[in-house]
Symmetry: C2
Subunit: 235 residues, 2 copies
């Protein structure tokens, strides 16, 4: 936790906050901070700065906060992700949030196992909790929106063209002949397939929706490796 993310309910009396639970625990156990010390803090969807600890005991952490800077700029990348295995979903979401991705759509695909859709990790509460972990890691405050779409074709045919409008529309595909561009300096909508890849009909649908299939070379990367790799390559 490189920044403590603060929510409206944490504030009392303007610039004072009182924290309990996970954040109190973390500051006590990991930061091992004391009254008078400063910690990086930021308001959810707002500015970042410092909090000076005015109380720290078993019951609560209280700070006076001064939030005087903007959070790091977002990555102009919308991520459309075939729903990953539940085992990796948490770290993919936290990783994407830490990179500054602000819109994520978790999508069905032929090679996404049906059982993944009943994972409790897909609950809005869990997705939000993982996003918060990513933001705290990267000292960002702006929560990503995370949506789910259980029907591939209606999403790709009816929603995706508008969603990708005005952006460079790419689908990462190991068998594509075109090479993934670098340092694009424009917004990108990036689609990443499931383990085993999209089937040909899915690639064809995405191409009809205006997407170009691009490859990053011979290596096939796991989704948790591919997301930061592609984020760095594109920007």
């Amino acid at each position: 936790m490189n920044l403590i993310l603060l929510f409206d309910d944490d504030f009392f009396g303007g610039s004072r906050v009182r924290l309990t639970g996970r954040r109190l625990q973390h500051v006590t156990d990991v930061h091992r901070a004391a009254v008078g010390e400063e910690l990086a803090a930021g308001a959810a969807d707002g500015r970042i700065g410092r909090g000076t600890i005015t109380r720290l005991d078993a019951e609560a952490l209280e700070m006076d906060v001064v939030l005087d800077r903007d959070p790091p700029p977002p990555l102009p990348l919308t991520l459309i992700l075939a729903l990953p295995r539940p085992k990796v979903l948490n770290r993919v979401i936290a990783g994407a949030a830490s990179l500054g991705i602000k819109r994520i759509v978790l999508l069905n695909a032929w090679r996404v196992e049906k059982s993944y859709w009943s994972s409790p990790r897909l609950s809005p509460d869990n997705l939000r909790a993982q996003s918060i972990l990513g933001l705290e890691q990267a000292r960002d405050t702006v929560l990503p929106s995370i949506e789910t779409r259980r029907l591939f074709r209606p999403f790709v045919e009816d929603e995706l063209p508008a969603l990708a409008h005005g952006t460079r529309a790419l689908v990462a595909h190991p068998r594509a002949s075109e090479v993934c561009p670098r340092d694009v300096r424009e917004p990108v909508t990036l689609v990443i397939g499931p383990e085993g890849g999209f089937i040909d009909a899915e690639i064809a649908s995405l191409e009809r929706a205006g997407f170009t299939a691009v490859s990053i070379g011979e290596r096939i990367l796991r989704v948790e490796t591919a997301v930061p790799y592609l984020a760095a390559r594109l920007y």
Copy 2:
């Protein structure tokens, strides 16, 4: 497993292999392959190609293999990594191997918890197993060398200058004023610190050893996100 990695012991009679255990299980359960089908295969530290299944039952998978192509080129990146938490070590190693990194040194640092060094995950057998998973993912065959160094200063002062000789020597450091270069087109030795970062004295040691501290911006990334991010940025 996008490629089945084969070892000397697997071969009998020239180009025939017999597999049991994990690889048999994977081909049966995940690939759901049958006799006559082809699977991507490669010889450890050798070439890649295809294996035609000649037998597949509960006891063994046998294939006739033709290995006629070189594996993907390695990434000219030597990674010096402050030993990560055991919980993430496996996926950091598998991820680095999947990216084509061929030399990894796991190093002590002030903010590496001592207990990490007694993790069973640091056994050569486990590090090798994780490397194999990464290679199978990325369809590579060349195993990385993975070393451990429990003493920071002797390593940095006595070994590191020679190890980094002829390469661009960089240490990723969130507070560095210099920006991490892109697309360097030369070999790099890259040092990545522990959670919480290197302390100033460690950065000073690395600078004396010829390393330049570079930053990737305001965001602090987890090591499992930072490694692919930096690999894509540098190459």
